[in-house]
């Protein structure tokens, strides 16, 4: 998903100035950062890998202002030398050829990346270092929350005959036709997760979870149900959800046992889809789990295709009221306004724009997935030349994510995307591309789009940036209204991207409604729309 480093890992070469005296355990605080199970090894080749490199990485993360770190321990295999699961380098011969089974179906670039990753993981293990034990200890030294995450049904590479990412357990189930929905031909990734109604699947994952709770000193354990979301045969989600709930009671008991062993609480977290009813209908009933006291942290998050600029935070917090559960809004790295359309990584302003509305609407924190600083600092902006992120912008924005008050002064872009996960059988509901809906009694002429924007901008230059589709011959013939007030385009613009300054008096708290009004004969489409708020003066 990421390019290999083209430059040296500048940031890991510095050391943390802060002292290493252990401090008391922090309560859950954001931003929360999830580290993918492969990323550390992509970033740290075998030649230089060591326990100290692990420490330096945590120091880097802590310096950004991240306050809770979550280290993912697995995809289909453990990324460390597990006693209960296959590990990532099983069946990999570092001296063997590129056509050995776990490599032969990859592209040549993929072979190179995979070899580096597996060599690195082996090297660290051979040094006797457990990645997660070391990461968590350093988190504690640096005063940030120390969690691990278990992915509950990872299917990276599931369309390949073999790969280092495919476990023997998975391949056996696949060969036996025991996956989620093989009858559709199996060409679609979501047909290929394991079926969590099967007892051996539940037991398989329970063993991995238990190992974390018995061997690590951790503040919390996350069950990542969003990798890859669909855990049951279609239509079996509600019944399956009861299976998961019963299973989670066992995990909760293991957390309590670990807490006794460690002498401090061991919290339990879950990642689920962004809408509560979607989560329930996927068998991931986080509200029920919270009300039963099974979980301490609920992360409502998109899957992958695009971050979700419209997480219904008010509704989540109402549903979780009285449970004491920490609610976090999950933010992904991709920004894709139109399904299957162009996608890019979030810029600093887009990240601020995604995070501020949930913090404003009552989220306890925001949670970053695929936001490892190292690869992010190598990404280029859409112009192809300047960096998308710099150390300065990264440290500024990550730290500002700690609260609404710190984030609100930054410049920000609030976008329109879509909920990239829906429950099986639920209809699609993407807002873009938006076109003229002058069709009938029920929809208005033109189109309307709602943009979640957080606190009302005060003394901030604010504008709409609209990208029209290629089927929009004359954007200047369209009239744009924000909250019922017409906002003319900035003069002189040509091309498909136009800017419409928005007077401050027009702006509302929480969200803005943008309407495009066209004469019947004026065709148009909108493929991207952002509310752009300049930094506080």
């Amino acid at each position: 998903m990421r390019l290999l480093p083209a430059l040296a890992l500048l940031l890991t070469c510095t050391t943390l100035a802060a002292g290493s005296v252990p401090r008391s355990r922090p309560p859950i605080a954001g931003p929360i950062l999830n580290l993918d199970s492969t990323q550390f090894f992509f970033e740290h080749p075998a030649a230089g890998i060591s326990g100290e490199a692990v420490d330096q990485y945590v120091d880097l993360v802590a310096r950004t202002g991240v306050r809770t770190f979550i280290s993912c321990v697995n995809a289909q295999k453990a990324n460390y030398a597990s006693r209960v699961w296959e590990h990532d380098w099983s069946r990999y011969d570092p001296k063997g050829p590129d056509d050995q089974p776990v490599l032969k179906y990859l592209s040549s670039a993929g072979v190179k990346m995979t070899r580096q990753r597996l060599d690195a993981a082996m090297a660290l293990a051979n040094q006797g270092v457990n990645l997660h034990a070391r990461l968590l200890a350093r988190c504690r030294a640096d005063g940030i929350g120390a969690w691990v995450s278990v992915r509950m049904n990872d299917i990276h590479d599931c369309l390949l005959p073999d790969s280092s990412l495919l476990s023997e357990f998975y391949k056996q189930h696949r060969a036996a036709g025991q996956l989620r929905s093989p009858y559709r031909g199996g060409e679609w990734w979501a047909d290929r997760p394991l079926d969590w109604e099967q007892a051996d699947v539940q037991e398989h994952y329970f063993q991995l979870v238990k190992e974390q709770l018995e061997t690590l000193d951790l503040d919390g354990l996350e069950l990542d149900w969003m990798r890859f979301v669909y855990h049951f045969r279609p239509g079996h989600e509600l019944e399956g959800g009861r299976v998961i709930t019963a299973w989670m009671r066992r995990v909760r008991a293991e957390c309590d046992r670990a807490a006794r062993r460690l002498g401090h609480p061991v919290l339990l977290g879950v990642r689920v889809p962004t809408r509560p009813e979607t989560a329930r209908r996927c068998g991931l009933d986080a509200v029920a789990w919270a009300r039963e006291g099974l979980v301490d942290l609920v992360v409502a998050t998109p899957f992958w295709a695009t971050t979700d600029f419209d997480i219904p935070t008010v509704e989540w917090q109402r549903l979780l009221a009285g449970t004491g559960v920490h609610f976090s809004a999950g933010i992904e790295i991709r920004y894709q306004p139109v399904p299957n359309g162009p996608a890019r990584f979030l810029s600093p302003a887009l990240l601020a724009g995604a995070a501020l509305p949930p913090l404003h609407d009552g989220a306890d924190s925001v949670y970053l997935f695929n936001y490892d600083p190292l690869p992010l600092l190598r990404e280029l902006a859409p112009d192809g030349h300047s960096p998308l992120w710099t150390e300065a912008s990264l440290n500024t924005v990550y730290r500002a994510l700690q609260s609404e008050a710190t984030l609100a002064p930054l410049d920000r872009r609030h976008a329109v995307t879509f909920h990239d996960i829906r429950a099986p059988g639920d209809p699609a509901d993407q807002a873009l591309p938006a076109t003229d809906t002058r069709r009938d009694f029920q929809w208005p002429p033109g189109c309307a789009l709602r943009v979640a924007t957080g606190p009302r901008p005060v003394h901030r230059a604010t504008s709409l940036e609209v990208e029209f589709g290629a089927d929009t011959p004359a954007p200047e013939k369209l009239r744009l209204f924000v909250n019922g007030t017409e906002c003319p385009a900035a003069p002189g613009a040509t091309g498909r991207v136009r800017t419409y300054p928005v007077p401050e008096a027009v702006l509302q708290d929480e969200a803005q409604v943008v309407e495009v009004v066209s004469a019947p004969e004026v065709a148009f489409s909108i493929v991207r729309l952002e509310v752009v708020v300049a930094a506080a003066p």
Copy 2:
């Protein structure tokens, strides 16, 4: 919206056998029936209208098994001789010509209907009978709940220059350009509601509400925010919602005053959109009202285009937990699977199919809108010959709506429709027509539809009935799966409507997921889909 009676009003000629001794006030119990403000007068011409006819009508309703009756007092005018509002026959000269202002813009059929309605309303008023006082007294005698409803922003006929349905208050605002969103050209009905952020609008409605509470003996008052849903300039819904909440505090105080006058509770109800977050984003934050103790009854209801077969009842009840509020699922009379597609009235089996899932999922009752028995009994089935409803089926189904236990044994049809109201700027999300979504990484090949079905059918013949669009050349080339199990079509079928028997073992509680799997070259669309459950043996 309904045809005039072609037959005599058979049912009102019978009398109620039950005694007329007043009983204690019933708590809220369903089914709840709302009587439109014009319907009684359409059904009862001036020649025969009387207080006794009113009594007989209530007796008829009570006999059906309805347990709470709600009489609507207004559209833009009061339908009785109000002291604080214009009444329906204001500016109407019964001896005047058909081109008088309140008639001249109507069709000739409309003129005839309107004259009958206004003549009837005048005749009853001239007899000194207040329709609602009489209806409510008889409800009490018959032992059913006695409520009135106030429509908060009715805009029937709003596109006409004049009409008996348009108040002077409304026309003045319209002439002054003070409606919700006149800038879109005003051709769309939803541009024309009054703007509830205006103080005189709030006061205008407060006077009508107050009159009910000061003059009637009522068990409850309903504020019907679903006529016509959009009460604010686009984008002003959240701010406007705070205005409405403050206004409702005043109404709540008036209810409490009325309760002291009457010596029994006077409850307050609201009608809002079917999804909680949609309601909040429309400025109709029923959950906040419930949590503040402002309301006793929340009805989640479609607007008009189609009844909603997928009201998220579990979510509503979770949000209302602990408030003591009665939650009712609103059911409309129209069934329209595809937006702007063919529509018809619900049959007895469709009504049972719409009502059972919410009752199963925890709704306290169901609520019928546009279900006056009199016109319904005149409707013809799609064949154009047989009646859609009979007295027998109506009495059976209405009474069965009292509970899940009584309703579940009937034959029923669970359909797929759409949420006919969404908040301004929120995207459309209709499920039908469903076509092949084999487009990308995110959606599965073929299509999937979720059907809410209530309790799992046991010992009941169950099948899918699917109507394919005209662009489906060969339905027999498609494979249908219910909850992951293939269900072949019943043999021998041709044409666009096909039946697929579903084995009992396949069925799930609450909902079924139907998947259509096609080869890439096989085009198809689904325009109607129903899960048909035969009556209990």
